[in-house]
């Protein structure tokens, strides 16, 4: 199917026929019932050639923009030389990307297990700490969103989690930022504490450095491991390579999301210490992933990391993030509702719109003004702005203009 021949009506018919009807309604309510046809850098184009700035970036996958040339070119070349490979085998591609990740990741994290998707990486992280410590307890914080698979779901804040029956036991959820409940919850039976240092889907709530330091101290005192999920906040998104650099607190396990494959290939990774890997070395092939770390995906990942290292997009994210944030704050100031509060870091920002209804009308108005945004999965009153990390000042101004126009367009309730 050529992109030029896309027929919106036919796509709509197929969606009605093969997917839940409610899914289309939801897209409509978010202003996202748009056929995504062409994509380039910061932009998406629909079948009529209408241009939008992609401020969803597939939940922080497109950190390098859409179709970064360095990655697509390298991937095309790799196609002639390799394929996904036999998953249990040693492979040059897997070894090379793992070594590259070890060099890229914060110090002390040098062992890698690959996966396709975030949830799978989180599930593995939980299995790793249970296996390595011989303990079962996993402590998580409220407001979390780790993904859809079994462990990830069990650890996330989901209103209707109990619909899926009894989930993973020995999970304890504590209030984010609360020191005394952390002290109570982290015990000698705790395998690990897991948290997102910056909760993107929860209004970009960030952990205070003192809180992370205290969690680190408690984990060390009790012999528990510390897991950070930086799927959304990592790989330059927040103005640093990883958000943890703001606090300087190092975890034992770091979940790196699909920004690793730059949206060209789905690949994610769990990176951890040598000490924890002793367990995996004793029990090889105890956790498998057919597609995780596919050799072709590793080639895409290597090209993407090369690009991250060369372009240092975190620098642009910091500068443009500041510009975007103050621009949005200015644009929303003086409106009775919402208060226009903006949270987050770098180019991972959340606007508090006061209610889920406001958030949805804002998303629709924003789409009409040429930017695509989405409410948070945990805090539905917030709307997230996360464009390509390589956006230009002009594009940043365009986003600010669209936010201002959208805010003026809607009636806040």
């Amino acid at each position: 199917m050529k992109t030029a021949t896309v027929n919106r009506k036919k796509v709509l018919d197929d969606y009605r026929r093969f997917f839940p009807a409610a899914a289309l309604d939801r897209m409509h309510s978010e202003g996202l019932d748009i056929v995504e046809v062409e994509r380039d850098g910061a932009f998406i184009f629909d079948e009529k050639g209408r241009r939008y700035i992609d401020c969803i970036a597939s939940a922080s996958v497109y950190n390098l923009g859409r179709r970064p040339r360095g990655v697509t070119t390298a991937f095309k070349k790799a196609l002639r030389e390799t394929d996904q490979g036999n998953f249990p085998m040693i492979s040059r591609e897997k070894a090379a990307l793992a070594a590259k990740i070890a060099a890229f990741a914060p110090s002390g994290l040098e062992c890698v297990v690959f996966s396709v998707t975030r949830g799978e990486s989180v599930d593995f992280a939980c299995k790793l700490v249970r296996g390595a410590t011989g303990r079962s307890g996993i402590v998580t914080v409220d407001g979390s969103w780790f993904g859809q698979t079994g462990f990830a779901l069990s650890l996330s804040e989901r209103a209707n989690r109990e619909m899926y029956g009894p989930l993973i036991p020995a999970v304890d959820t504590i209030p984010f930022g609360d020191f005394s409940s952390a002290a109570r919850a982290i015990t000698d039976t705790t395998a690990a504490v897991i948290l997102e240092p910056l909760q993107a889907e929860n209004g970009c709530r960030a952990a205070y450095p003192e809180y992370l330091a205290e969690i680190r101290r408690l984990c060390d005192a009790r012999g528990a491991a510390l897991i950070f999920d930086e799927t959304q906040s990592g790989l330059g998104r927040t103005g640093r390579k990883f958000f943890l650099e703001y606090s300087g607190i190092l975890p034992d396990v770091l979940v790196m999301g699909e920004a690793l494959g730059a949206g060209v290939f789905p690949i994610a990774a769990t990176v951890f210490t040598k000490k924890l890997n002793r367990f995996m070395n004793r029990h090889p092939l105890i956790h498998l992933s057919t597609f995780g770390g596919a050799d072709l995906g590793c080639m895409a990942g290597i090209a993407a990391l090369d690009l991250y290292e060369r372009l240092k997009p975190w620098e642009n994210a910091e500068v443009m993030g500041r510009r975007l944030r103050s621009g949005i704050e200015r644009a929303l100031r003086g409106r009775r509702r919402p208060n226009g509060m903006v949270s987050g870091a770098g180019l991972l920002l959340a606007i508090d719109l006061g209610s889920p209804e406001n958030a949805l009308s804002f998303c629709r108005a924003a789409a009409r003004s040429g930017i695509l945004v989405k409410p948070g999965d945990v805090d539905a009153s917030s709307v997230l702005i996360r464009p390509s990390l390589l956006i230009t000042p002009t594009q940043t101004n365009e986003i600010i203009g669209a936010v201002e126009k959208a805010a003026a367009d809607i009636k806040f309730i």
Binding site: G85, M89, I90, V116, E120, S136
Partner: protein, 474 residues
């Protein structure tokens, strides 16, 4: 061998393999390197084309009978699939889950066209485990019931729900406690299932052919019984066709053999054409499911499954299968391979206990576990790469690409014959040991095997490196 641009001498195949092993051991897993060496499975795959690849270290070209547990049904580097992928890379990327995608819609349509009648709605997933997690969430959510009945030795994946449904202690034990309300009953036992299913059962989950367990096909009658039992109790029937789907067993989907249509079917592996991750969950639009989805359509969103590029690849896979009627080829080749292996079993009852399978999904069960690694080696020396199941080393799986020709199949048969002949020559050494219960346990212990076979490997490697008149250092 070429000199590298930096002027340094390019590494020989063996040196390169050693370098890769070192890097792999340091940053991924050293235990895995040792384990693969012990099992003679330590190859470095290059020139992955059609049904073969070449081991860089030995230069040995082998027929791939493992195929990443059934991922390469259309062959490795399938030209039609590669062309579709290259074309997709010209204008697409993974796309955005929250927007509408013509490619996602097209793949959903294609999947429904090939699926058993009734499975006419689609979710996407990032792979097998993710698809199973999606399927179990859908079953629990839709029925409002907690219990999942799975089978002993079942293998469904490694994510939270899938792992909880695995019927093997081996994969579960270090990670307990897993999800409550998962029950396990013996496979192919209708009575056991009848007593396990209650009005609290959300779903029964089963592989129509247990793959990782060591290739155990479900009897057609058994699947018919499961359908009847599920209907009687209002439970949903989930088929895990991750390995058996996409023509592997001689039908597009293995459930077609019995005519039983499940309520939910999980797909992955070969849907990705051996190049790109993808997965799907097909389901029937039952009232109980539709009611649930009305409120919770987004119960298992996938950013990585059903990506635009992935859908283009999967569409090419399906087109290739339909155009070449690949399932027919699988059935024909499967019959050829099966009968030859069955002959081999009759001739060698001291080595082969049983041959099982359907289509080109065939397992050989040896008399003793320690024979698995020995056969892997003997087969590799004869140009066939076949792996034994991780924790059932007595069973070797033969799942070559379905594009294999009759001559290719005959080559596999010849290699199996030659390998068995080698085994026969070694048995006078191994079998007396196997008669001593203590020694047999030792031989069958995975850790002991890893140590022992690694030691044997280093002796072999040493001998191979001694330059002789025959130039054994190949």
């Amino acid at each position: 061998m070429q000199a590298s641009a930096s002027g340094k001498r390019a590494l020989t195949g063996r040196e390169e393999k050693k370098r890769v092993e070192g890097q792999f051991a340091r940053h991924i897993n050293s235990g895995q390197v040792k384990y693969l060496k012990a099992g003679h499975l330590d190859v470095l795959e290059t020139m992955r084309r059609g049904i073969r690849f070449t081991d860089e270290a030995t230069g040995r070209t082998m027929i791939d009978c493992f195929t990443s547990a059934g991922c390469f049904n259309v062959g490795r580097g399938n030209p039609l699939v590669l062309a579709a992928l290259e074309d997709a890379l010209g204008s697409l990327d993974m796309g955005s889950r929250v927007l509408m995608s013509p490619w996602k819609a097209a793949l959903a349509r294609a999947l429904v066209e090939i699926a058993p009648k009734g499975l006419d709605r689609v979710f996407f997933a990032s792979g097998g485990g993710d698809a199973i997690d999606c399927a179990i969430k859908l079953a629990r959510g839709a029925t409002g019931r907690p219990t999942i009945v799975s089978t002993i030795k079942a293998y469904h994946g490694h994510t939270g729900f899938a792992l909880s449904a695995n019927g093997k202690e081996h994969y579960r034990r270090h990670f307990e406690p897993l999800m409550p309300e998962f029950r396990f009953v013996p496979f192919n036992d209708s009575e056991a299932m009848a007593s396990a299913i209650t009005d609290k059962t959300a779903a029964v989950i089963i592989e129509p052919i247990q793959g990782e367990a060591g290739i155990f096909p479900a009897a057609d009658d058994y699947l018919v019984d499961l359908r009847r039992l599920c209907d009687r109790h209002g439970a949903l029937l989930i088929f895990d066709e991750v390995q058996t789907g996409f023509c592997r067993t001689g039908r597009f989907f293995a459930c077609e053999h019995s005519g039983v249509v499940p309520d939910i079917m999980a797909l992955a592996k070969s849907i990705g054409g051996g190049v790109y991750p993808n997965g799907a969950v097909l389901y029937r639009g039952l009232p109980v499911i539709n009611r649930f989805l009305k409120k919770h359509h987004d119960f298992h969103p996938s950013y990585d499954g059903g990506s635009d590029i992935g859908c283009c690849v999967s569409l090419a896979v399906i087109r290739f299968m339909r155009e070449t009627r690949l399932w027919e080829k699988a059935e024909r080749s499967g019959a050829r391979l099966y009968s030859a292996l069955e002959d081999l079993r009759r001739e060698n009852p001291a080595i082969i206990r049983e041959v099982r399978g359907r289509g080109l999904m065939i397992g050989i069960e040896y008399i003793h576990e320690f024979m698995g690694p020995m056969m892997s080696d003997a087969l590799a020396r004869n140009g066939v790469f076949a792996a034994y199941s991780g924790n059932a080393p007595q069973v070797m799986r033969f799942m070559p690409p379905l594009v294999a020709s009759d001559e290719d199949i005959d080559e596999i048969i010849a290699a199996a014959r030659a390998a068995v002949a080698v085994m026969k020559s070694l048995l006078p050494l191994a079998l007396p040991a196997a008669r001593v219960p203590f020694l047999l346990n030792m031989l069958n212990n995975e850790r002991v095997q890893t140590l022992l076979f690694n030691w044997l490997r280093s002796v072999e490697d040493l001998i191979a490196r001694i330059p002789g008149p025959g130039g054994s250092n190949k």
